[in-house]
């Protein structure tokens, strides 16, 4: 853990990311610095998406794993640029290895590939225990990114 790294509880997290129930995919941040963010999402059987995905077998949707990585990515961006710009996903290259089910604790790690004030590219991975369940490279931009 680098010297600047700090942990964040849910109220601090809500100050950094705009998503709210049922779309807030980060419960706690263990480590936050401009070089790396490590966040936790606890997946419970009561998640609002489980009744439909799927009725007979609860599996967390892959797109929501991407959402969780993207939200951890916003926290990483804000460590370097503490503004309140709304960020939009631009491209995602993802791979899923193992299904995520109720009871899993997701450990989401994000590191920057290139972070600029108006846009960025980051690399994210999700682990359950020591097993990597998903990974992606995501690019995002802010609303004013087009005015380059």
């Amino acid at each position: 853990m680098s010297k600047q790294a700090r942990s964040l509880e849910i109220e601090d997290i809500k100050k950094l990311i705009p998503q709210r129930f049922p779309f807030l995919m980060i419960d706690r941040v263990l480590e936050a610095s401009p070089e790396k963010v490590v966040a936790i999402k606890n997946v419970t059987a009561n998640e609002p998406f489980f009744p439909g995905h799927f009725p007979d077998q609860k599996v967390m949707p892959g797109v929501l794993l991407i959402e969780a990585m993207a939200q951890a990515g916003i926290i990483l961006y804000r460590q370097k640029f503490p503004n309140d710009k709304l960020l939009f996903l631009v491209s995602v290259k993802a791979r899923f290895h193992v299904p995520v089910i109720p009871g899993d604790q997701l450990k989401i790690q994000v590191v920057p590939i290139k972070l600029l004030s108006k846009m960025g590219i980051e690399k994210a991975e999700i682990f359950v225990g020591n097993t990597k369940v998903a990974g992606c490279e995501l690019a995002f931009g802010s609303q004013d990114a087009k005015a380059l």
Binding site: K114, L116, S117, M119, G120, I121, G141, L148
Partner: protein, 80 residues
């Protein structure tokens, strides 16, 4: 060396913009003429940094308008 780098950079630009190399004239404006956008410029920049182990500062992004300018920029960054 110079031609190799030109070819490699054209490969990167072609891959990011999703256009064939022959559709990308070296002096064409990538955003106005070739159909790239600013996010693609960032992807090109990140790919260059990885390939040549260089660091390109944010303000250089504005100058990445043509393939020729990107090549010149990458060469200058590599010398440092």
């Amino acid at each position: 060396m110079a031609d190799k780098m030109q070819e490699e950079i054209l490969d990167i630009v072609s891959m990011v913009i999703e256009k064939e190399k022959k559709q990308i004239p070296l002096d064409a404006h990538l955003i106005q003429e070739v159909g790239a956008d600013s996010m693609m410029a960032l992807e090109i920049l990140a790919a260059l940094e990885k390939k040549y182990r260089i660091v390109i500062p944010e303000e250089k992004l504005k100058e990445m308008t043509t393939v020729n300018r990107i090549i010149a920029m990458a060469k200058a960054a590599k010398k440092k």
